[in-house]
């Protein structure tokens, strides 16, 4: 099988994680189930992960997408650290998307930091799936 064909057949692999101390994980678990139902392979790291833990896991799992889930306002603290770890590890083609309770005002800031897209609380599932399919490395 050619490399291109192999990549095409391989399921999209998404790594979802909480970051830091915040354990509000209802949204993270729901999105994991929905992405699985959409045919993606999903790894949920769970709670109490620090940025380096998340990126180490993304390397181990060869994840195509990294999806940190935030609620407590710590997105501005941990996103730069996640991006820094991604850069160190050379994960240039891995798609970083964030979800959770995030003020509209912070979305441009997160994008400047290196998050490709933000899906806030109250998002529907279909746009998330479409976004991942259209923007994941191939």
């Amino acid at each position: 099988m050619s490399k291109a064909k192999e990549n095409k057949d391989r399921k999209i692999k998404v790594l979802v994680s909480k970051v830091g101390l915040d354990g509000h994980d209802r949204g993270a678990k729901v999105i994991c189930s929905l992405l699985k139902e959409a045919g993606m392979e999903v790894v949920y790291l769970g709670m109490y992960q620090m940025p380096k833990d998340v990126i180490d896991a993304a390397i181990d799992e060869d994840a195509d997408v990294i999806g940190p889930s935030f609620l407590s306002g710590e997105h501005l603290v941990y996103t730069p650290l996640l991006v820094e770890e991604m850069k160190k590890a050379g994960l240039d083609d891995v798609l970083l998307i964030a979800g959770g309770v995030i003020p509209a005002e912070d979305i441009p800031t997160l994008k400047e930091m290196g998050v490709k897209e933000v899906f806030t609380a109250g998002s529907l599932t279909e746009p998330i799936i479409k976004y991942i399919r259209n923007n994941v490395r191939r």
Binding site: D22, E74, P103, A121, L124
Partner: protein, 562 residues
Amino acid sequence: MKATEKVVPVTEQKDVDWDKYLAAYYEKPKSSLTWSGLDVKEVYTPEDLPLEKYNDIGDPGQYPFTRGIHRNMFRGRYWTRREVIGMGSPQDTHDRSKILVEEGGSGLNTIADIPYEMGLDADHPWAQNEVGLTGVCITNMYDMETMTADIPLDKVSWSLITASTVAVVTMAQYAAVAKKRGYDLKKLRGTVQNDPVHFRYCGFRPACPLDLSVKLGADVMEYCTKEMPLWYYTTVNLYDLREQGVTAPQEVAFGFLIARLYIDEMIRRGYKVDDFMQRFAFYVSCHIDIFEEVSKIRAARRIWAKLMKEHYGAQKASSQQFRFAVHTAGCSLVPQQPLNNIVRIAYQALAAVLGGVQSLHCTSYDEPVCLPTENGHTQALRTQQILAYETGVTNVSDPLGGSYYVENLTNKLEEEIYKIMAEVDKVGGMYEAIRTEWLDRVFEKEALTRQKEIDDLDKILVGVNMFTTEQETTTPLGVQRISKASVKRQIEMVKKLKKERNQALWKEKILALKAAAERRENVLPYMIEATEAGATTGEMMGAVRLAYGYPYDPIEIIEAPF
């Protein structure tokens, strides 16, 4: 140009879909299910409410309290207008609390942040980035002194929202400060949430081992019953369970079964329910389906009264009464078109009041965006005040009592709640349902169903799956940020305290606490002494955790300093 001359031009709308307009004119609701999926009829008649059943309803103030715990209800006293506050440093939280009191709030209500609920000191390596982001971090007695400074503790009723095992620390810190300021503990009024069992489901599992949750929950209940008899020593939190995505009857069934874990522990310690149940309270969600929420509350009151009387043998009315505060449903709010949340919250608050609530927190409109801004907070209080002072809902007790529909729905919810309780019995009772993660699986399944209902338009959410607009780029009343400087100062003060306290006295008291926990004694009196000797939240929790065989640090990165 003068301000009065400025005209905002009317937006030009070129194309209108008139077919859509016509469809909307004739449109009927797609579903007639309640929010929790109960099937209801088009109309209810006297046949749905046989009068011989009235004894099962009773008048307000009469067993089984279906219609409320007081005969005169709000004519006797308004519900407490108690907005939850917790942000930044103890000083920031103190200041915001006083603002809301000045604006007409009638109860103080402060919430712990994530490090505090986890039992981590502000200087814990994992806590430092998160101090004050979601509440207030009290690491020692001096933080509690700052938060409560110059507030007359004998005049206020203070609700302390610490839900995890750390509630016992919060009580020790509050009691120590009150004693230092010369107050008689027996006269203090207030509430501590103290429901560690449920809190494992809010992301605090490492801080809430199941055995310690029941033990420490009961320690607070036992101590307050003896030493602080006016204090509500728990508000068993049904609200947080509902926020996991479960239905109205699941909320009550699961919450009641968790409440029974504490009551059974108190009975095991040799108490009778009439000795201690007078100060047992609940925290309930009010979601958007007004009639279902009112019926849920009415059913809950009836079930609780019967359970207390028939199962536990409670004789006193105050041991049979279901007393509750309401937190309007945060999970029903969305960031899209955020001002709409004010309307959602108002309906939910109305349901709470029609249900006979004792104390109410109206969520602020910016709940799905950030911590409340000062304006957002004040607006939420205004929602309560409009309801209390303008609408006339306070005139009559249980105004929906006798409604064919509401009485029927109350009966139906009661049946559903009993059915769910029986399911938990089948898996071996609540302790087993938690230990085996049966309850986790229920929560996950229900949360997924809720999202699919929105995705599939089975439930309408304005601004999300209908009547959508472009994504907002700003939040109407701004975003609440936390002062990094004030948090930094707090962390430095903790470090200073740890260096400068009387080390010999501190060590003696913290070891005494650990020894008491090892002897399985009530730890709260030892915590008061330890906190007076400068022991911190993390140290005191760590001492108790070690005595029960758990790692000192729930995150497992720092070692015990004793």
